[in-house]
Amino acid sequence: MILDFFKYDFIMYALAASLLGSITAGIIGTYVVTRRMVFITGGITHASFGGLGLGFFFGINPLLGAAVFGLVSGIGVEYLSRFHKIREDSVIAMMWSFGMALGIIFISLTPGYAPNLMSYLFGNILSVSSSDIWIMGILMILVLALFVPFFRLIQYLTFDEEFARTSRVPVSLFKYLLVGLVALTAVVYIRVAGIILVLSLLTIPQNTALLFSNNLKRIMWLSIGIGFLGSLLGLMISYAGNIPSGASIIFSLVLLYLTGSAGKAIFHARKKQYKHP
């Protein structure tokens, strides 16, 4: 049965998407989680639905529309947050629902063809095509091109932005580049996990990794590994039980998180017992 699993093209694409996604989301998600941008990222993802609808309406690639909406909303929030005059979380909530509303409006105005909304809301890793793999590959290269040479800078400016600003480095430029990559990651992986579930790829493996390390680089590596393991497990559950893949992957990721938490708790309990017999 396992060998059966590998003989289909769509399974190979799904595996490739899992690997590329785990690397990209492992790194970007670590940034999102440690900089506490989870809510912003949710806002970006949902706002991009407006672009998706616009794409359908004008007959252009919906993911391109989503990417533009994602980038504009991400960079917009990052820009507005520099001025402390706005309530950032409220703005994000407005952006979040406005994007969804726009998307629905445009899709309902699009004559004739009704796109499969479910696949955009919940994703389907088994529908990934070779061109999707290309896009995911390019995105991964962009992420690595920013994080490998500038890792320490990113770590320091995420930890204490103001201090980084006193160090004669272009902090704002990097923040915009980073939020841009966050937006692109969210949009590209809508294909895999859907608008509603994409946040999980960016948060669950990272929080599992955070259980075990206080070293940012190690957390990124662990997130990549945990993300990949969870995706494989999810794919198998999906295949075996004929369950939508997005849901089964997230189920697996949460399972890994709970296993990790339990393992850590037991380990600590034992250590305590050992110390105070």
Binding site: T34, R152, F159, T166, S167
Partner: protein, 244 residues
Amino acid sequence: MNLVELKSVSFGYRDEPVIDQVNLVIREGDFIGMIGPNGGGKSTIIRIIMGLLEPWSGEVIIPKDINIGYLPQTHNFDNRFPISVLEVVLSGLLKIHGITTRVNKKDKKRAMEVLGKVGMADLAKRSIGELSGGQMQRVFIGRALISSPQLLILDEPVTYVDNRFEQELYNLLELISLETAILLVSHDVGQIVSSVRTIACVNRQLHYHPSNQITEEILESYNCPIDLITHGHVPHRVLPTHLP
């Protein structure tokens, strides 16, 4: 040599000026105590020097090769951020190494040396969030020191630290002041006058007092109402210090 020069610098929020036409020169060998009431503009001047605020008007002259070590008054960081004490201290080298900053063995050795100075070497591998407020403050002082700056700016360094470390800190600063200029900000005169060589009084305007002998009359003439009064008893003359 002038390390920092401010020429009639003004700054404010909305229409309200916080500092007005401030002039200040910091030279090599200086050990300046900056005092003044809360909201008088001390931190604003520091933040302008550090490039965090753009002045409304006036000129800030800092030669390009001047390296300033900085301890902010408040720290805006998430104390659950996964970073070790050692790594926090190493981040003080960012301005030397630039955007592609890397860390080598020499840097790590230097970081451990600095952590030793502030009494935190044993906790180098701890997460920053596991420390107490005073311990964190020591680590941030380490971050300000690691790059061997020509000027050290400390904004209220004794907030959060216990009395013992406060004394240790002043001893350490006296040692550092032999080779590094220091600008030390405090709202509490009594604490700093014994260490510093000169005093700058900030209350919207800056008055420079070229010695550390300060009387209430001087403060009054500077329009600088500070802790001499709020401590409850009113000393006529704060400190005569031991002359060096």
